[in-house]
Amino acid sequence: MNETSDQILQRPLRESWFSRFQVAALAALTIVAVIGKFYLPRLIPNTEWLELPLLLTVYFGLMRHGPIASLLFGAFVGLAEDSLSPANLPIGMYGITKTLVGYFSASVSMRFNVENSFVRLVLSFFFFFFHAFFYWVMRRALLGQIVPFDPQETFVHGALNAVVALPLFAVLDRMRLSGSV
Protein backbone atom coordinates (compact mmCIF):
# COMPACT_ATOMS: atom_id res chain seq x y z
CA MET A 1 0.00 0.00 0.00
CA ASN A 2 1.18 3.46 -0.75
CA GLU A 3 1.00 6.48 1.41
CA THR A 4 -2.30 7.71 0.07
CA SER A 5 -4.04 4.39 0.65
CA ASP A 6 -2.72 4.28 4.16
CA GLN A 7 -3.95 7.75 4.75
CA ILE A 8 -7.42 6.91 3.52
CA LEU A 9 -7.76 3.60 5.33
CA GLN A 10 -6.17 4.79 8.53
CA ARG A 11 -8.67 5.06 11.35
CA PRO A 12 -8.10 8.32 13.15
CA LEU A 13 -7.30 8.05 16.78
CA ARG A 14 -9.10 10.71 18.61
CA GLU A 15 -11.42 11.16 21.42
CA SER A 16 -15.15 11.25 21.27
CA TRP A 17 -16.14 14.22 19.25
CA PHE A 18 -19.60 14.42 20.67
CA SER A 19 -18.33 14.87 24.16
CA ARG A 20 -16.42 17.93 23.14
CA PHE A 21 -19.05 19.49 21.04
CA GLN A 22 -21.65 21.40 22.87
CA VAL A 23 -25.13 19.98 22.72
CA ALA A 24 -26.57 23.43 22.39
CA ALA A 25 -24.46 24.12 19.34
CA LEU A 26 -25.57 20.85 17.82
CA ALA A 27 -29.21 21.64 18.41
CA ALA A 28 -28.79 25.10 17.01
CA LEU A 29 -27.05 23.75 13.95
CA THR A 30 -29.79 21.23 13.38
CA ILE A 31 -32.51 23.85 13.62
CA VAL A 32 -30.61 26.21 11.38
CA ALA A 33 -30.06 23.46 8.83
CA VAL A 34 -33.69 22.37 8.79
CA ILE A 35 -35.15 25.85 8.72
CA GLY A 36 -32.48 27.09 6.36
CA LYS A 37 -33.62 24.59 3.82
CA PHE A 38 -36.98 26.35 3.67
CA TYR A 39 -35.85 29.94 3.99
CA LEU A 40 -32.59 30.00 2.13
CA PRO A 41 -34.22 29.97 -1.31
CA ARG A 42 -36.11 33.11 -0.26
CA LEU A 43 -32.91 34.82 0.75
CA ILE A 44 -30.74 33.54 -2.04
CA PRO A 45 -32.62 32.51 -5.17
CA ASN A 46 -31.85 29.23 -6.94
CA THR A 47 -30.52 27.47 -3.87
CA GLU A 48 -33.17 24.81 -3.64
CA TRP A 49 -30.57 22.18 -4.36
CA LEU A 50 -28.73 22.83 -1.11
CA GLU A 51 -29.35 20.01 1.41
CA LEU A 52 -27.96 21.38 4.62
CA PRO A 53 -29.78 18.84 6.87
CA LEU A 54 -28.33 16.01 4.84
CA LEU A 55 -24.83 17.44 4.98
CA LEU A 56 -25.13 17.88 8.69
CA THR A 57 -26.30 14.29 9.08
CA VAL A 58 -23.41 13.05 6.97
CA TYR A 59 -20.93 15.10 8.91
CA PHE A 60 -22.32 13.88 12.23
CA GLY A 61 -22.12 10.29 11.04
CA LEU A 62 -18.61 10.67 9.75
CA MET A 63 -17.32 12.31 12.88
CA ARG A 64 -19.30 10.47 15.52
CA HIS A 65 -18.11 6.95 14.62
CA GLY A 66 -21.10 5.61 16.41
CA PRO A 67 -23.81 4.13 14.20
CA ILE A 68 -26.56 4.25 16.78
CA ALA A 69 -26.09 7.89 17.65
CA SER A 70 -25.73 8.77 13.99
CA LEU A 71 -28.88 6.98 12.92
CA LEU A 72 -30.83 8.53 15.77
CA PHE A 73 -29.52 11.93 14.82
CA GLY A 74 -30.47 11.26 11.22
CA ALA A 75 -33.93 10.16 12.29
CA PHE A 76 -34.35 13.31 14.35
CA VAL A 77 -33.27 15.60 11.51
CA GLY A 78 -35.41 13.71 9.02
CA LEU A 79 -38.52 13.84 11.17
CA ALA A 80 -37.99 17.54 11.77
CA GLU A 81 -37.79 17.99 8.05
CA ASP A 82 -40.92 15.89 7.58
CA SER A 83 -42.87 18.07 9.96
CA LEU A 84 -42.31 21.02 7.63
CA SER A 85 -42.90 19.08 4.46
CA PRO A 86 -46.12 19.39 2.41
CA ALA A 87 -49.16 17.81 3.97
CA ASN A 88 -49.57 15.31 1.16
CA LEU A 89 -46.37 13.62 2.28
CA PRO A 90 -46.71 11.61 5.48
CA ILE A 91 -44.24 12.09 8.27
CA GLY A 92 -41.43 9.59 8.16
CA MET A 93 -40.22 9.73 4.60
CA TYR A 94 -37.23 11.90 5.29
CA GLY A 95 -36.89 10.24 8.68
CA ILE A 96 -36.28 6.79 7.22
CA THR A 97 -34.00 8.11 4.52
CA LYS A 98 -31.81 10.13 6.84
CA THR A 99 -31.75 7.31 9.38
CA LEU A 100 -30.13 5.15 6.76
CA VAL A 101 -27.79 7.93 5.73
CA GLY A 102 -26.67 8.44 9.33
CA TYR A 103 -26.13 4.75 9.86
CA PHE A 104 -24.18 4.20 6.66
CA SER A 105 -22.08 7.30 7.07
CA ALA A 106 -21.12 6.20 10.54
CA SER A 107 -20.31 2.75 9.24
CA VAL A 108 -18.10 4.17 6.53
CA SER A 109 -16.28 6.41 8.96
CA MET A 110 -15.19 3.35 10.93
CA ARG A 111 -13.25 2.05 7.95
CA PHE A 112 -11.99 5.14 6.17
CA ASN A 113 -10.12 8.23 7.12
CA VAL A 114 -12.89 10.74 6.74
CA GLU A 115 -10.54 13.62 7.45
CA ASN A 116 -9.43 13.44 3.88
CA SER A 117 -11.07 16.07 1.71
CA PHE A 118 -11.39 13.81 -1.27
CA VAL A 119 -13.10 11.15 0.79
CA ARG A 120 -15.46 13.75 2.17
CA LEU A 121 -16.19 14.99 -1.30
CA VAL A 122 -16.96 11.55 -2.62
CA LEU A 123 -18.99 10.52 0.38
CA SER A 124 -21.02 13.72 0.31
CA PHE A 125 -21.83 13.19 -3.32
CA PHE A 126 -22.62 9.54 -2.81
CA PHE A 127 -24.90 10.11 0.15
CA PHE A 128 -26.73 12.92 -1.64
CA PHE A 129 -27.40 10.65 -4.59
CA PHE A 130 -28.42 7.80 -2.30
CA HIS A 131 -30.68 10.11 -0.33
CA ALA A 132 -32.42 11.44 -3.43
CA PHE A 133 -32.79 8.07 -5.07
CA PHE A 134 -34.04 6.31 -1.96
CA TYR A 135 -36.53 9.07 -1.31
CA TRP A 136 -37.83 8.76 -4.85
CA VAL A 137 -38.10 4.97 -4.49
CA MET A 138 -40.02 5.33 -1.27
CA ARG A 139 -42.46 7.77 -2.78
CA ARG A 140 -43.13 5.41 -5.61
CA ALA A 141 -43.16 2.20 -3.57
CA LEU A 142 -44.82 3.27 -0.36
CA LEU A 143 -47.04 6.14 -1.47
CA GLY A 144 -47.60 5.22 -5.08
CA GLN A 145 -46.76 8.75 -6.20
CA ILE A 146 -45.35 8.95 -9.69
CA VAL A 147 -42.75 11.65 -9.42
CA PRO A 148 -39.99 12.23 -11.94
CA PHE A 149 -36.41 11.41 -11.16
CA ASP A 150 -33.80 13.15 -13.21
CA PRO A 151 -30.43 11.42 -12.72
CA GLN A 152 -28.59 14.16 -14.54
CA GLU A 153 -30.03 16.87 -12.37
CA THR A 154 -29.43 14.80 -9.27
CA PHE A 155 -25.85 14.30 -10.34
CA VAL A 156 -25.30 18.03 -10.71
CA HIS A 157 -26.98 18.81 -7.42
CA GLY A 158 -24.93 16.11 -5.73
CA ALA A 159 -21.75 17.62 -7.08
CA LEU A 160 -22.77 21.07 -5.89
CA ASN A 161 -23.59 19.76 -2.44
CA ALA A 162 -20.27 17.97 -2.31
CA VAL A 163 -18.51 21.20 -3.15
CA VAL A 164 -20.42 23.00 -0.43
CA ALA A 165 -19.73 20.16 2.01
CA LEU A 166 -15.97 20.72 1.97
CA PRO A 167 -15.91 24.23 3.44
CA LEU A 168 -18.88 23.44 5.65
CA PHE A 169 -17.13 20.43 7.15
CA ALA A 170 -14.01 22.49 7.59
CA VAL A 171 -15.94 25.09 9.57
CA LEU A 172 -17.52 22.37 11.68
CA ASP A 173 -14.07 20.87 12.25
CA ARG A 174 -12.85 24.20 13.60
CA MET A 175 -15.84 24.40 15.89
CA ARG A 176 -15.02 20.93 17.19
CA LEU A 177 -11.38 21.84 17.74
CA SER A 178 -12.23 25.00 19.57
CA GLY A 179 -14.60 23.03 21.71
CA SER A 180 -11.94 20.50 22.56
CA VAL A 181 -9.55 22.99 24.03
Partner: protein, 442 residues
Protein backbone atom coordinates in the same frame (compact mmCIF):
# COMPACT_ATOMS: atom_id res chain seq x y z
CA UNK B 1 -30.13 -14.46 21.74
CA UNK B 2 -28.65 -11.86 23.96
CA UNK B 3 -25.26 -12.43 22.43
CA UNK B 4 -26.73 -12.13 19.02
CA UNK B 5 -28.39 -8.82 19.85
CA UNK B 6 -25.25 -7.45 21.41
CA UNK B 7 -23.25 -8.50 18.40
CA UNK B 8 -25.62 -6.90 15.95
CA UNK B 9 -26.68 -4.12 18.17
CA UNK B 10 -26.21 -1.36 15.66
CA UNK B 11 -28.12 -3.20 13.00
CA UNK B 12 -30.85 -4.05 15.44
CA UNK B 13 -31.30 -0.45 16.48
CA UNK B 14 -31.35 0.57 12.86
CA UNK B 15 -34.05 -1.96 12.08
CA UNK B 16 -36.10 -0.91 15.05
CA UNK B 17 -35.91 2.77 14.15
CA UNK B 18 -36.66 2.19 10.50
CA UNK B 19 -39.47 -0.24 11.16
CA UNK B 20 -40.98 2.10 13.70
CA UNK B 21 -41.01 4.90 11.19
CA UNK B 22 -42.37 2.60 8.55
CA UNK B 23 -45.21 1.53 10.79
CA UNK B 24 -45.96 5.12 11.64
CA UNK B 25 -45.92 5.99 7.97
CA UNK B 26 -48.12 3.05 7.12
CA UNK B 27 -50.55 4.10 9.82
CA UNK B 28 -50.81 7.55 8.30
CA UNK B 29 -51.37 6.17 4.84
CA UNK B 30 -53.82 3.55 6.03
CA UNK B 31 -55.95 5.91 8.06
CA UNK B 32 -55.43 8.72 5.61
CA UNK B 33 -54.80 10.96 8.56
CA UNK B 34 -52.37 13.79 8.60
CA UNK B 35 -50.47 14.16 11.82
CA UNK B 36 -51.65 17.69 12.15
CA UNK B 37 -50.42 18.16 15.68
CA UNK B 38 -46.79 17.61 14.79
CA UNK B 39 -47.04 19.85 11.79
CA UNK B 40 -48.80 22.54 13.77
CA UNK B 41 -46.05 22.50 16.32
CA UNK B 42 -43.33 22.62 13.73
CA UNK B 43 -44.97 25.33 11.69
CA UNK B 44 -45.80 27.38 14.75
CA UNK B 45 -42.25 27.13 15.92
CA UNK B 46 -40.72 28.00 12.62
CA UNK B 47 -43.00 30.60 11.08
CA UNK B 48 -42.23 33.43 13.50
CA UNK B 49 -38.81 33.47 12.01
CA UNK B 50 -40.34 33.92 8.62
CA UNK B 51 -41.18 37.54 9.35
CA UNK B 52 -37.64 38.28 10.40
CA UNK B 53 -36.15 36.50 7.45
CA UNK B 54 -38.53 38.21 5.08
CA UNK B 55 -37.81 41.61 6.58
CA UNK B 56 -34.09 41.04 6.20
CA UNK B 57 -34.52 39.85 2.71
CA UNK B 58 -36.84 42.66 1.70
CA UNK B 59 -34.73 45.41 3.20
CA UNK B 60 -31.46 44.07 1.92
CA UNK B 61 -32.60 43.20 -1.54
CA UNK B 62 -34.84 46.24 -1.76
CA UNK B 63 -31.96 48.51 -0.89
CA UNK B 64 -29.72 46.85 -3.40
CA UNK B 65 -32.39 46.99 -6.04
CA UNK B 66 -33.07 50.66 -5.37
CA UNK B 67 -29.40 51.44 -5.41
CA UNK B 68 -28.57 49.56 -8.50
CA UNK B 69 -31.91 50.07 -10.20
CA UNK B 70 -30.41 51.99 -13.05
CA UNK B 71 -28.03 49.20 -13.78
CA UNK B 72 -30.68 46.77 -14.86
CA UNK B 73 -33.18 49.13 -16.45
CA UNK B 74 -32.00 48.15 -19.87
CA UNK B 75 -32.39 44.52 -19.06
CA UNK B 76 -35.85 45.12 -17.68
CA UNK B 77 -36.75 47.06 -20.79
CA UNK B 78 -35.61 44.24 -22.97
CA UNK B 79 -37.54 41.78 -20.87
CA UNK B 80 -40.68 43.91 -21.02
CA UNK B 81 -40.41 44.14 -24.76
CA UNK B 82 -40.04 40.43 -24.94
CA UNK B 83 -43.07 39.97 -22.72
CA UNK B 84 -45.00 42.43 -24.82
CA UNK B 85 -44.24 40.51 -27.99
CA UNK B 86 -45.20 37.29 -26.35
CA UNK B 87 -48.47 38.75 -25.09
CA UNK B 88 -49.24 40.08 -28.54
CA UNK B 89 -48.78 36.67 -29.98
CA UNK B 90 -51.02 35.24 -27.30
CA UNK B 91 -53.58 37.92 -28.08
CA UNK B 92 -53.64 36.92 -31.72
CA UNK B 93 -53.92 33.31 -30.71
CA UNK B 94 -56.84 33.93 -28.39
CA UNK B 95 -58.60 36.08 -30.97
CA UNK B 96 -58.37 33.21 -33.41
CA UNK B 97 -59.65 30.87 -30.75
CA UNK B 98 -62.57 33.19 -30.11
CA UNK B 99 -63.42 33.35 -33.78
CA UNK B 100 -63.29 29.59 -33.93
CA UNK B 101 -65.61 29.36 -30.97
CA UNK B 102 -68.08 31.74 -32.62
CA UNK B 103 -68.04 29.66 -35.75
CA UNK B 104 -68.59 26.53 -33.73
CA UNK B 105 -71.58 28.16 -32.06
CA UNK B 106 -73.07 29.01 -35.44
CA UNK B 107 -72.54 25.44 -36.50
CA UNK B 108 -74.34 24.19 -33.43
CA UNK B 109 -77.29 26.48 -34.05
CA UNK B 110 -77.50 25.41 -37.64
CA UNK B 111 -77.16 21.79 -36.64
CA UNK B 112 -80.11 22.11 -34.29
CA UNK B 113 -82.21 23.93 -36.86
CA UNK B 114 -81.73 21.82 -39.92
CA UNK B 115 -83.87 18.69 -40.22
CA UNK B 116 -80.98 16.73 -41.67
CA UNK B 117 -78.94 14.65 -39.27
CA UNK B 118 -75.42 16.00 -39.23
CA UNK B 119 -72.21 15.57 -37.35
CA UNK B 120 -69.72 18.35 -36.78
CA UNK B 121 -66.15 17.88 -37.93
CA UNK B 122 -63.01 19.93 -37.95
CA UNK B 123 -60.72 20.31 -40.91
CA UNK B 124 -57.35 18.94 -39.90
CA UNK B 125 -55.36 18.91 -43.09
CA UNK B 126 -55.24 19.47 -46.76
CA UNK B 127 -54.54 17.14 -49.57
CA UNK B 128 -50.97 16.63 -50.60
CA UNK B 129 -51.90 17.00 -54.23
CA UNK B 130 -51.84 20.65 -55.11
CA UNK B 131 -54.34 20.49 -57.93
CA UNK B 132 -56.91 18.48 -56.02
CA UNK B 133 -59.18 20.46 -53.75
CA UNK B 134 -59.62 18.12 -50.84
CA UNK B 135 -59.29 18.29 -47.10
CA UNK B 136 -59.23 15.89 -44.21
CA UNK B 137 -61.74 16.14 -41.39
CA UNK B 138 -61.40 14.60 -37.97
CA UNK B 139 -64.42 12.33 -38.25
CA UNK B 140 -64.39 8.92 -39.77
CA UNK B 141 -66.20 5.66 -39.93
CA UNK B 142 -66.46 5.50 -36.17
CA UNK B 143 -68.65 8.61 -36.30
CA UNK B 144 -70.97 7.08 -38.84
CA UNK B 145 -69.53 8.83 -41.87
CA UNK B 146 -69.80 7.07 -45.18
CA UNK B 147 -68.45 7.73 -48.59
CA UNK B 148 -70.55 10.10 -50.66
CA UNK B 149 -72.04 12.06 -47.80
CA UNK B 150 -72.49 15.79 -48.22
CA UNK B 151 -70.42 18.28 -46.26
CA UNK B 152 -71.97 21.68 -45.58
CA UNK B 153 -71.75 24.72 -43.37
CA UNK B 154 -74.52 27.09 -42.34
CA UNK B 155 -73.32 29.42 -45.08
CA UNK B 156 -73.34 26.95 -47.91
CA UNK B 157 -72.15 23.71 -49.34
CA UNK B 158 -68.57 22.57 -48.94
CA UNK B 159 -68.10 19.23 -50.65
CA UNK B 160 -68.61 15.52 -50.32
CA UNK B 161 -66.85 12.67 -48.59
CA UNK B 162 -64.72 10.69 -50.97
CA UNK B 163 -62.78 8.49 -48.59
CA UNK B 164 -63.54 7.28 -45.11
CA UNK B 165 -60.99 6.04 -42.62
CA UNK B 166 -61.62 4.90 -39.08
CA UNK B 167 -60.94 8.29 -37.52
CA UNK B 168 -60.71 10.72 -40.43
CA UNK B 169 -62.39 11.33 -43.72
CA UNK B 170 -61.35 13.00 -46.92
CA UNK B 171 -63.68 15.61 -48.34
CA UNK B 172 -63.61 16.72 -51.93
CA UNK B 173 -64.44 20.40 -52.10
CA UNK B 174 -66.91 21.78 -54.58
CA UNK B 175 -64.09 23.89 -55.99
CA UNK B 176 -62.47 20.75 -57.31
CA UNK B 177 -62.52 20.57 -61.10
CA UNK B 178 -64.23 17.19 -61.04
CA UNK B 179 -67.05 18.20 -58.75
CA UNK B 180 -70.46 19.39 -59.91
CA UNK B 181 -73.51 20.26 -57.89
CA UNK B 182 -77.15 20.40 -58.94
CA UNK B 183 -78.59 23.80 -58.11
CA UNK B 184 -81.90 25.58 -58.35
CA UNK B 185 -82.66 29.27 -58.41
CA UNK B 186 -84.76 30.82 -55.72
CA UNK B 187 -87.28 32.86 -57.72
CA UNK B 188 -87.77 31.06 -61.01
CA UNK B 189 -86.77 27.60 -59.72
CA UNK B 190 -84.49 27.22 -62.68
CA UNK B 191 -82.38 24.11 -62.48
CA UNK B 192 -78.72 24.03 -63.42
CA UNK B 193 -75.36 22.50 -62.65
CA UNK B 194 -72.75 24.32 -60.63
CA UNK B 195 -69.19 23.98 -61.87
CA UNK B 196 -66.32 25.68 -60.06
CA UNK B 197 -63.56 23.87 -61.88
CA UNK B 198 -62.32 26.86 -63.82
CA UNK B 199 -61.73 28.91 -60.72
CA UNK B 200 -64.93 30.88 -61.18
CA UNK B 201 -68.15 29.21 -60.25
CA UNK B 202 -70.62 29.03 -63.10
CA UNK B 203 -74.11 27.63 -63.36
CA UNK B 204 -74.38 25.63 -66.53
CA UNK B 205 -77.19 24.15 -68.53
CA UNK B 206 -79.62 27.02 -68.11
CA UNK B 207 -81.42 28.18 -71.20
CA UNK B 208 -81.28 31.76 -72.35
CA UNK B 209 -85.02 31.96 -72.03
CA UNK B 210 -84.91 31.26 -68.32
CA UNK B 211 -85.00 34.26 -66.09
CA UNK B 212 -82.14 34.50 -63.65
CA UNK B 213 -81.24 37.92 -62.35
CA UNK B 214 -78.17 39.16 -60.55
CA UNK B 215 -78.36 38.86 -56.81
CA UNK B 216 -80.67 35.90 -56.94
CA UNK B 217 -79.91 33.00 -54.66
CA UNK B 218 -79.19 29.50 -55.81
CA UNK B 219 -79.88 26.49 -53.60
CA UNK B 220 -79.08 22.85 -53.94
CA UNK B 221 -81.66 21.04 -56.01
CA UNK B 222 -81.04 17.57 -54.60
CA UNK B 223 -80.76 16.12 -58.07
CA UNK B 224 -77.13 15.17 -57.61
CA UNK B 225 -78.14 12.74 -54.86
CA UNK B 226 -75.42 14.20 -52.67
CA UNK B 227 -76.72 17.41 -51.21
CA UNK B 228 -80.25 17.56 -49.86
CA UNK B 229 -82.45 20.08 -51.53
CA UNK B 230 -82.60 23.52 -50.03
CA UNK B 231 -79.05 24.21 -48.87
CA UNK B 232 -77.80 27.67 -49.90
CA UNK B 233 -75.11 27.68 -52.55
CA UNK B 234 -74.52 31.29 -53.51
CA UNK B 235 -75.77 34.40 -55.23
CA UNK B 236 -75.70 35.31 -58.89
CA UNK B 237 -73.02 37.82 -59.72
CA UNK B 238 -73.86 38.18 -63.39
CA UNK B 239 -76.40 36.61 -65.68
CA UNK B 240 -76.01 37.18 -69.40
CA UNK B 241 -77.31 35.37 -72.44
CA UNK B 242 -74.70 33.20 -74.05
CA UNK B 243 -74.41 30.94 -77.01
CA UNK B 244 -77.23 28.53 -76.48
CA UNK B 245 -76.97 28.59 -72.72
CA UNK B 246 -77.10 31.44 -70.30
CA UNK B 247 -73.79 32.52 -68.83
CA UNK B 248 -74.29 32.75 -65.10
CA UNK B 249 -71.51 33.56 -62.65
CA UNK B 250 -72.10 32.58 -59.07
CA UNK B 251 -70.56 33.79 -55.84
CA UNK B 252 -70.41 30.96 -53.34
CA UNK B 253 -71.94 31.83 -50.00
CA UNK B 254 -69.62 29.47 -48.18
CA UNK B 255 -65.85 29.40 -48.40
CA UNK B 256 -64.99 25.78 -49.06
CA UNK B 257 -61.26 26.37 -49.05
CA UNK B 258 -61.16 28.32 -45.83
CA UNK B 259 -63.59 26.58 -43.53
CA UNK B 260 -62.37 25.10 -40.29
CA UNK B 261 -65.52 23.45 -38.98
CA UNK B 262 -68.01 21.67 -41.19
CA UNK B 263 -71.06 19.50 -40.88
CA UNK B 264 -71.22 16.10 -42.49
CA UNK B 265 -74.78 15.24 -43.44
CA UNK B 266 -75.41 11.75 -42.20
CA UNK B 267 -79.07 11.63 -43.18
CA UNK B 268 -80.14 14.35 -45.55
CA UNK B 269 -83.69 15.67 -45.60
CA UNK B 270 -84.87 17.56 -48.63
CA UNK B 271 -86.32 20.96 -47.90
CA UNK B 272 -88.26 23.43 -49.93
CA UNK B 273 -86.40 26.28 -51.51
CA UNK B 274 -86.91 29.16 -49.10
CA UNK B 275 -88.68 32.20 -50.41
CA UNK B 276 -86.36 34.54 -48.58
CA UNK B 277 -82.60 34.63 -48.74
CA UNK B 278 -80.90 32.66 -46.03
CA UNK B 279 -80.31 34.69 -42.94
CA UNK B 280 -76.86 35.34 -41.73
CA UNK B 281 -76.34 33.25 -38.66
CA UNK B 282 -73.12 34.90 -37.65
CA UNK B 283 -74.41 38.37 -36.94
CA UNK B 284 -77.52 39.66 -35.29
CA UNK B 285 -79.43 42.75 -36.30
CA UNK B 286 -81.34 45.02 -33.99
CA UNK B 287 -84.91 46.03 -34.85
CA UNK B 288 -85.53 49.43 -36.37
CA UNK B 289 -85.52 52.29 -33.90
CA UNK B 290 -88.91 53.77 -32.91
CA UNK B 291 -90.22 56.82 -34.75
CA UNK B 292 -89.17 60.12 -33.31
CA UNK B 293 -91.89 62.14 -31.70
CA UNK B 294 -92.26 65.47 -29.99
CA UNK B 295 -89.32 67.74 -29.81
CA UNK B 296 -87.02 65.21 -31.40
CA UNK B 297 -89.18 65.06 -34.51
CA UNK B 298 -89.36 68.84 -34.66
CA UNK B 299 -85.65 69.04 -34.31
CA UNK B 300 -85.21 66.51 -37.08
CA UNK B 301 -87.61 68.47 -39.27
CA UNK B 302 -85.47 71.53 -38.88
CA UNK B 303 -82.49 69.69 -40.18
CA UNK B 304 -83.02 70.72 -43.78
CA UNK B 305 -80.44 71.75 -46.20
CA UNK B 306 -80.56 74.94 -48.21
CA UNK B 307 -81.53 72.92 -51.23
CA UNK B 308 -84.50 71.51 -49.35
CA UNK B 309 -85.60 74.98 -48.42
CA UNK B 310 -85.36 76.23 -51.98
CA UNK B 311 -87.30 73.22 -53.20
CA UNK B 312 -89.97 73.75 -50.61
CA UNK B 313 -90.15 77.40 -51.50
CA UNK B 314 -90.66 76.63 -55.17
CA UNK B 315 -93.33 74.10 -54.33
CA UNK B 316 -95.18 76.72 -52.38
CA UNK B 317 -94.86 79.20 -55.19
CA UNK B 318 -96.00 76.62 -57.68
CA UNK B 319 -99.10 75.87 -55.66
CA UNK B 320 -99.70 79.53 -55.15
CA UNK B 321 -99.35 80.36 -58.82
CA UNK B 322 -101.25 77.33 -59.98
CA UNK B 323 -98.24 76.01 -61.78
CA UNK B 324 -97.79 72.35 -62.36
CA UNK B 325 -94.13 71.50 -62.53
CA UNK B 326 -93.48 69.37 -65.55
CA UNK B 327 -97.00 69.90 -66.83
CA UNK B 328 -97.83 71.07 -70.36
CA UNK B 329 -99.56 74.40 -70.80
CA UNK B 330 -98.95 75.59 -67.31
CA UNK B 331 -98.13 79.23 -66.77
CA UNK B 332 -94.69 80.28 -65.79
CA UNK B 333 -94.68 81.07 -62.09
CA UNK B 334 -93.05 84.11 -60.63
CA UNK B 335 -90.31 82.80 -58.44
CA UNK B 336 -89.50 86.25 -57.13
CA UNK B 337 -92.53 86.45 -54.93
CA UNK B 338 -92.32 85.12 -51.48
CA UNK B 339 -94.45 82.08 -50.88
CA UNK B 340 -96.97 81.80 -48.17
CA UNK B 341 -96.87 79.36 -45.32
CA UNK B 342 -94.23 78.03 -43.04
CA UNK B 343 -91.63 77.68 -45.76
CA UNK B 344 -91.28 81.42 -45.85
CA UNK B 345 -90.70 81.55 -42.16
CA UNK B 346 -88.15 78.85 -42.37
CA UNK B 347 -86.42 80.46 -45.28
CA UNK B 348 -86.43 84.02 -43.95
CA UNK B 349 -86.93 83.96 -40.26
CA UNK B 350 -85.42 87.38 -39.75
CA UNK B 351 -87.73 89.08 -42.18
CA UNK B 352 -90.90 87.79 -40.63
CA UNK B 353 -91.33 90.56 -38.13
CA UNK B 354 -90.91 93.36 -40.61
CA UNK B 355 -93.35 91.75 -42.99
CA UNK B 356 -95.96 91.53 -40.28
CA UNK B 357 -95.49 95.16 -39.51
CA UNK B 358 -96.03 96.07 -43.08
CA UNK B 359 -99.21 94.11 -43.23
CA UNK B 360 -100.64 95.63 -40.13
CA UNK B 361 -99.94 99.16 -41.07
CA UNK B 362 -100.67 98.89 -44.74
CA UNK B 363 -104.07 97.31 -45.17
CA UNK B 364 -105.70 96.27 -42.05
CA UNK B 365 -109.23 96.45 -43.48
CA UNK B 366 -108.41 94.35 -46.43
CA UNK B 367 -107.06 91.71 -44.22
CA UNK B 368 -110.26 91.54 -42.32
CA UNK B 369 -112.50 91.45 -45.34
CA UNK B 370 -110.66 88.93 -47.39
CA UNK B 371 -110.84 85.41 -46.14
CA UNK B 372 -108.09 83.13 -47.16
CA UNK B 373 -108.65 80.60 -49.82
CA UNK B 374 -106.28 77.97 -50.97
CA UNK B 375 -108.36 76.54 -53.77
CA UNK B 376 -108.41 79.70 -55.72
CA UNK B 377 -105.18 79.39 -57.65
CA UNK B 378 -106.36 76.39 -59.55
CA UNK B 379 -109.58 78.09 -60.65
CA UNK B 380 -108.10 81.40 -61.33
CA UNK B 381 -105.01 81.33 -63.44
CA UNK B 382 -102.33 83.80 -62.77
CA UNK B 383 -102.17 86.79 -64.96
CA UNK B 384 -99.52 86.97 -67.56
CA UNK B 385 -96.57 89.03 -66.67
CA UNK B 386 -96.38 92.38 -68.23
CA UNK B 387 -95.83 95.95 -67.21
CA UNK B 388 -99.34 97.07 -68.29
CA UNK B 389 -101.39 94.34 -66.76
CA UNK B 390 -101.31 95.76 -63.30
CA UNK B 391 -102.18 99.41 -63.50
CA UNK B 392 -103.44 99.82 -59.96
CA UNK B 393 -103.04 97.97 -56.73
CA UNK B 394 -105.77 95.58 -55.85
CA UNK B 395 -106.82 94.20 -52.57
CA UNK B 396 -104.90 91.13 -51.70
CA UNK B 397 -107.61 88.64 -51.71
CA UNK B 398 -107.25 85.07 -52.61
CA UNK B 399 -108.30 85.87 -56.11
CA UNK B 400 -105.73 88.59 -56.48
CA UNK B 401 -102.22 87.41 -56.53
CA UNK B 402 -99.13 89.38 -56.30
CA UNK B 403 -98.70 91.24 -59.47
CA UNK B 404 -96.75 89.29 -61.95
CA UNK B 405 -96.10 92.32 -64.03
CA UNK B 406 -94.77 94.53 -61.33
CA UNK B 407 -91.29 93.87 -62.58
CA UNK B 408 -89.35 91.69 -64.89
CA UNK B 409 -88.99 88.09 -64.01
CA UNK B 410 -85.44 87.58 -62.93
CA UNK B 411 -83.65 84.37 -63.36
CA UNK B 412 -82.90 82.43 -60.27
CA UNK B 413 -79.93 83.88 -58.46
CA UNK B 414 -79.90 87.14 -60.42
CA UNK B 415 -78.89 90.15 -58.34
CA UNK B 416 -81.67 92.38 -57.22
CA UNK B 417 -81.16 96.04 -56.72
CA UNK B 418 -84.22 96.52 -54.66
CA UNK B 419 -85.93 94.12 -52.42
CA UNK B 420 -89.37 92.90 -53.31
CA UNK B 421 -91.89 93.82 -50.65
CA UNK B 422 -92.66 90.75 -48.72
CA UNK B 423 -95.98 89.13 -48.25
CA UNK B 424 -97.37 88.29 -44.87
CA UNK B 425 -96.81 84.74 -43.82
CA UNK B 426 -100.31 83.90 -42.71
CA UNK B 427 -102.62 83.88 -45.60
CA UNK B 428 -105.26 85.80 -43.69
CA UNK B 429 -102.88 88.69 -43.17
CA UNK B 430 -101.82 89.16 -46.70
CA UNK B 431 -101.67 92.78 -47.79
CA UNK B 432 -104.42 93.94 -50.09
CA UNK B 433 -101.98 94.65 -52.83
CA UNK B 434 -98.33 94.42 -53.36
CA UNK B 435 -96.60 97.73 -53.67
CA UNK B 436 -95.66 98.61 -57.17
CA UNK B 437 -92.30 97.33 -58.12
CA UNK B 438 -89.99 99.73 -59.81
CA UNK B 439 -88.74 98.89 -63.18
CA UNK B 440 -85.62 96.94 -63.23
CA UNK B 441 -82.71 98.92 -64.48
CA UNK B 442 -81.69 96.04 -66.60
Amino acid sequence: MEALLSRYRNLTVLLIVVVAQLLYLAYQVKTNRDERLIRVWAVTAVTPMAGIVEAIRHNTIGFLQDYFILLDVREQNRKLKSDNDRLRMENVYYRNELATAEHARALTLFQARTPSKTVAARVIGNSTVETAKAVFVDRGATSGIEKGMAVVTPDGVVGKVIAVYPLVSQVLLITDPTFKVGVESQKGHVHGVLDCGTGKCEVEQIQNEDKVSAGEWFFTSGEDRIFPKGFPVGTVVSSQPGQGMRDIKLNLSGAPGGVEEVLVVLQGVHQAIPSTPPENTESSMLPAPPAETGSDAAQAAKRETEADKVLQKYDEIGKQEGHVFGGVGSNLPNFNVKPEGPATQAATPAAGTSDANVVKTGSQAAVKTSPPSTSAPSSNPAPKPGPSSNPAPKPATAETRPPMNSGPVLPLGAPRHKAVPPIAQPQAQRPPAAPPRPADPQ
